[in-house]
Symmetry: D2
Subunit: 307 residues, 4 copies
Amino acid sequence: MTTPDYRAILDTIAAEVAPLLPEGRVADYIPSLAAVPKHKFGMAVHTLDGRRYAVGDAAERFSIQSISKLFALTLAFRQQGDALWRRVGREPSGSPFNSLVQLEHEHGKPRNPFINAGALVVTDVLCRHFVQADVALLQFVRRLSGIADLNFDHEVAASEAATGHRNAAMAHFMKSFGNLEAPVDEVLSSYFHQCAIAMSCEELARAMLFLANHGVNPHDGQRLLTVSEAKRINAVLLTCGTYDAAGDYAYRVGLPAKSGVGGGIVAVVPGELAVCVWSPGLDANGNSLAGGYALERFTTLTGRSVF
Amino acid sequence: MTTPDYRAILDTIAAEVAPLLPEGRVADYIPSLAAVPKHKFGMAVHTLDGRRYAVGDAAERFSIQSISKLFALTLAFRQQGDALWRRVGREPSGSPFNSLVQLEHEHGKPRNPFINAGALVVTDVLCRHFVQADVALLQFVRRLSGIADLNFDHEVAASEAATGHRNAAMAHFMKSFGNLEAPVDEVLSSYFHQCAIAMSCEELARAMLFLANHGVNPHDGQRLLTVSEAKRINAVLLTCGTYDAAGDYAYRVGLPAKSGVGGGIVAVVPGELAVCVWSPGLDANGNSLAGGYALERFTTLTGRSVF
Amino acid sequence: MTTPDYRAILDTIAAEVAPLLPEGRVADYIPSLAAVPKHKFGMAVHTLDGRRYAVGDAAERFSIQSISKLFALTLAFRQQGDALWRRVGREPSGSPFNSLVQLEHEHGKPRNPFINAGALVVTDVLCRHFVQADVALLQFVRRLSGIADLNFDHEVAASEAATGHRNAAMAHFMKSFGNLEAPVDEVLSSYFHQCAIAMSCEELARAMLFLANHGVNPHDGQRLLTVSEAKRINAVLLTCGTYDAAGDYAYRVGLPAKSGVGGGIVAVVPGELAVCVWSPGLDANGNSLAGGYALERFTTLTGRSVF
Amino acid sequence: MTTPDYRAILDTIAAEVAPLLPEGRVADYIPSLAAVPKHKFGMAVHTLDGRRYAVGDAAERFSIQSISKLFALTLAFRQQGDALWRRVGREPSGSPFNSLVQLEHEHGKPRNPFINAGALVVTDVLCRHFVQADVALLQFVRRLSGIADLNFDHEVAASEAATGHRNAAMAHFMKSFGNLEAPVDEVLSSYFHQCAIAMSCEELARAMLFLANHGVNPHDGQRLLTVSEAKRINAVLLTCGTYDAAGDYAYRVGLPAKSGVGGGIVAVVPGELAVCVWSPGLDANGNSLAGGYALERFTTLTGRSVF
């Protein structure tokens, strides 16, 4: 397979998505997210052989939100391995990311680690293994990215906590089923902080390379996951990483990917590269509207996809 | 990547699955399926460069059941392209393959073409394009496999019709939402015949090669789907092909796959090969119990997976 | 308690509801129902001591639709007694009258005999006891009312059958759970005919007197139900008789009542009288809009209610 | 109607229910409830003309639990009248008393004031009108019963709070929909205290007389509700007062009634009397098993029922 001209491709995509930027709907449930201008667009590609490409606002930090669920899953998976799946499933949910219906039907076991309920269980696992789970996660993301100055946006975390009644409902609900060990308040606080890490497209692309690299962190050469484990995380990403649009993403994009309501989406081409796109306007499923189109074009123009 | 020793790998797998054969539960809702002995196991691998491997009962025909949904989808997709998705979704269902709940919540539009309701819509599309939809599908499968003497098992089709009240319920239900054009009886009859095609592992592996081959039928060199379309069918297989265990299959097996209650499972390694495994004992999700384990071992031993 | 001046009360109500008549929405899923003028309004009161009052279009026949479910239940209950409740519940449904969701969650046992699924089970019971269940029911309603020339509106019955895919879906669905004995087509045909009986307010009030009279048919003096059985039918009417508005009817009207999409509503004051109101415009729950208001005023002005 | 011999009837019932006492299952989610001996049974009848009858453990106090929901509803209804129904429905739920599914489907508006979610909304209303809602309710129940020394069982309230994660989940969930005004912790604390009021059968029968008496408190002659309002509360009791068994209670018992997991059930015969029965063993719906049978026998032996 020939190497694509990533520079030209990113430029093409940036031009193509421009008309889409006004169409999405910026998340507005907390002021810090609502204040992000809709016209922002950035995209970064980092390859395993060390090349880096970026376009637009790829250096600007935004709230990674649910993309943190992927880092939290990786950290918890390293602690517990397949035992983790006794407490959280790995099936697509077939319903919105914050539904309590499924949780009631399945007795407090969330369908997968990328819906909110599942991420709360993963956070609970981290609370058990680390004195300060949110700090441990932040340090893990610093390690994955090789970037020391990553931090929480404390204003975002505080806003999430103040409005997070649905997440509190889910946490208490799972607690009532016995599927939460730490105190509800501790889990929620840690969860809200994780979601409030601020990163740029370039930083996220760097932090995702270990998944493209079959589990080895390219920044320090250390193995974080076995080859098999890395593949499995990719599998969960592909089937569950984009809320109730996972089938649509597999169909249109064809890469393991994780999105967040901050407008970021990360994806990997196994064995080759990591890519991150950011645009704050969301579609009806809560995924970045322009970001999804950008990734679709990226796999079409590069001929890359897992299928 | 080195070429695996498929012969040795199939022998290893056949030995490993032997203890599992008694554990599954053979489908018993119709006599013809219930009569199949539980100890049957066959597996076949056909590569794009023409090598063929088989083990066990790989030459014995069985009822392909829901594997036919993949062939029907391919045929309907060739007729309608992306317009097809206006009538059937491509998201994992998050519920059993024959649930009416989702259908009610989503106003008669099935979640994907591989749950029964979705396959009925696909069949309805075929009923519109062909005078005899079931015969058209049979001829298409003959063409895909290059095997002329494939046929319906009419006894199975008759039994399905006699006991198919849940499928009839779904068809009438979708008709009430306006999402079925042909008469209910015609759609059901065609659907029951499609499911009743009898094929062996070797024949199914042959018939699946076009998907591994990016849309070109290797038996006659004709393009059936564009490269992009073939990838997209693979994507739908990966996210929706194994009922409510698609996430589990992606995690454990990592290949686009389609299963049937007859105990068969087909899968492809894009660009490389097609594989079919058969063992009639099913797990709780309705997938072949030994078959699922065999595919998991296959991807582990060969190092093949899309991730 | 003083005897109300029913004549004056009916006149008052007829004047009060006039402005409401244009507001409802006439059922339009079949032409015969859609053709009924919206301004129709009739009301009839028949007391156990033989007085009869009527206002407006009380002598005009309309399609009784789901009111027939009450007569069918009474007839089936006479055949089977409490054994009937093994196949159909007697709890309010908490959902629309034609939902399949509940049926799936509760394995094919309908919540009560007044949602469509429950009425199909009741009809199945009649199909088992009578050679022609619909004719048997018609004769029973003739007997209840003492009116010999009641008949099916065959045009309505045919239209119902042609558009009745949701009812067919429910029948097949229950058949798949083993909760339907007769052939689906026979049950459906009988059901559609029952719904298509045509009666006037005066005729329905006459036909309901046996329930006000603790089970004795006042027209021939024969006991149809024991005192206890009559009370129990009234209880099921109060809790389940008006679709998902039973709580609202108990609150506003406070009488056992049964409605139909033809715009009729029947109710009884136990020990005293039967009342029927008709107006074809329906509210969001499928009950006659003006009819519901008329009954609410009736219990307020007469001081009658079971509470 | 002749006056029944209530003394003899209560003795008969006490003898009849004895064999049932071991069958129920005592609520065990908190130690104070689990410790109540299963063989307890008491029943009290208070008539509007001043007669009082009791049998068994009718003088022993128990935790009234959800019976408090009736008193809270009455108090909130006095404050808000029909405006209350904008925030809570009055339809039977068709599902367990503590389900979150309905709440999600209906956007945070509980189906009725007698499921837990609805009672939390009612409590929220009280929190808005009173500085200390739980104390206000306690004083209201003292007034209804004319008994000054009624109190909370603080141990029960503390246990409820410690294990009340499902109620916390519901409160946060409704808060997320904007249907809770007071802080979640305040509403929960007040709710848990209300449920923890301890009363005997005799005291509860006394406290219910105002509903039999069309809204006038017989202990002080003051009108608490209009005649119409009292009827309406009775209507909500009949259709929603016994969890997902309201249809069954209407059918078997035929009286407005409210039950609690402490094993108590209160009921009224409008215009005549109030009755309370207590036995801690519960049936599958969470209603007192022996208590339900006792009420069924009571209406059969007395010939009283609203139908």
